[in-house]
Amino acid sequence: MKIRDIMMDGLFRQNPTLKLVLGVCSTLALTTSAFDSFGMGIAVTFVLVCSNVIVSLLRNVIPDKVRIPAFVLVIATFVTIVQLFLRKYVNALYASFGVFLPLIVVNCIILGRAEGFASKNKVGFAALDGLFMGLGYTWAMVLIGGIREILGYGTFFGIKLWDFTIDFFASQAGAFFTYGIVIALFVLVWNAIERSQKLKKASANDAPVVEEQKEEN
């Protein structure tokens, strides 16, 4: 049951991009195309899984007072690995990521999961948490990047769809705009799903229906 919880948390319930609104900097900067978003998502997922595993293994060794520098050191190691790997094998992605690749070190999602989850849980759960958080980040990035690429450039994953473009979505203002709209729609849909599940559960148990206050509107 806990694995299911970890999965739902990472993908939807605590989706780092759409629910926790973490790592906004890279989300806004790199969602100009679906492919860049996907690459960034995979890079972050890799770093998340590896750093979560190491932090979880070292959780009883690292002194409490210096835990943040220690986490950053672990994260920075894996970011450097990703950086060197991309530079050698996927130079196009390396070029389009620019400064945002080394900035994964200070991405709040990774530090947040190390601090909030990996340093308190066993290795297996920490690895799963890193995987699903990373996948949650990836699908949100690809969604935003896809919308912006289709509307802003008329392409999807580099494949030309039509000539019609709205340059607004390719600009920085369009990044904020699309991000906000996607968050609003996600929260709307997610709240509707949660409410219907609650109603179903309540009617199954024959208990009186108590509607909870909506978290966000």
Partner: protein
Amino acid sequence: MSSLIYSSSPHVRCSLTTKKIMLAVAIALLPACIAGCIFFGWSALLVLALSTVTAVASEFVYLLIAKKPIDYILKQFDYTSVVTGLLIGMNLTANCPWYVPVLASIFAIVCVKMIFGGTGKNLVNPAIAGRIFAFISFGATFGGSWLAPNVDAINASTIVTGATPLSGSILAGDLSAISVVDLLLGTGVSGVIGETCKLALIAGGIFLVVIGVINFRWPLVYVATTGLVAVALNGFDFNVFLPSILSGGLMLGAIFMATDYVTSPNTKLGNYIYFVACGVLTAVLRHATQIEMVSFVILIMNLFVPLIDKYIVRRPFGYTRPQKQQKEGK
């Protein structure tokens, strides 16, 4: 005693409702619209109609999706979307493709006005946001080629595209290219539909001032500041004054867009700050970038309005400032 009504302020009411004010603004915009249609032909009328119809329709559709009852929707309709749609149409070139006014109107009404709660709750002027959306999104079809007006409507070959007088010659310092009278009347001036005939815009502005919708002071402050700063930036050459205030979208922005009730400050001092800052920014940014900046300036200043309103508040009636006490023992 029972006939007395207890209520909170405001106690003084007048017949000037939002509906009537917005209808008056729409009427005041008509001369400039008609002038634009005469200068640019049927395509201008098509653009204006498309943007207005889309603006009204998108407001209705949004309210229907939000599950408001029909009679509420009809009752709350107050012509603001008509004004927004007209202004967006007036801010587009006559030769733009059909989707530009449609998308700009949808963006202005849905994303700028209705999402924030409808009339009176929007953070920035919807028409300005719609214009800038169109400007950023379709810059290639927007800024590159301005349709020159069709002065003698019979000969279609007179329609040429080129730079507006402002971006073409005035900002480059060439004042002889176009006469002030032409700028005032809009004859032979290229640009967007609603901005070329300044006389029609001023006539609409005077109409609004006479029936008390806007205060004559604010457009004057804005326009005069822009002109004077432009004069100062050009080495105190007073020949620049009239061309710089009569070209571009300054009149349209100053009379109809910056004076929007929702997005301008509440107090007199606040309004002075707002309009002087608008004027200074317009002149300085025009000088620095060599393109028309009125809409961007109004958008920027709209965002400052909550700040101005926070720090500049009306002095309550009968309030006297407490005397500063001299520190003793110095």
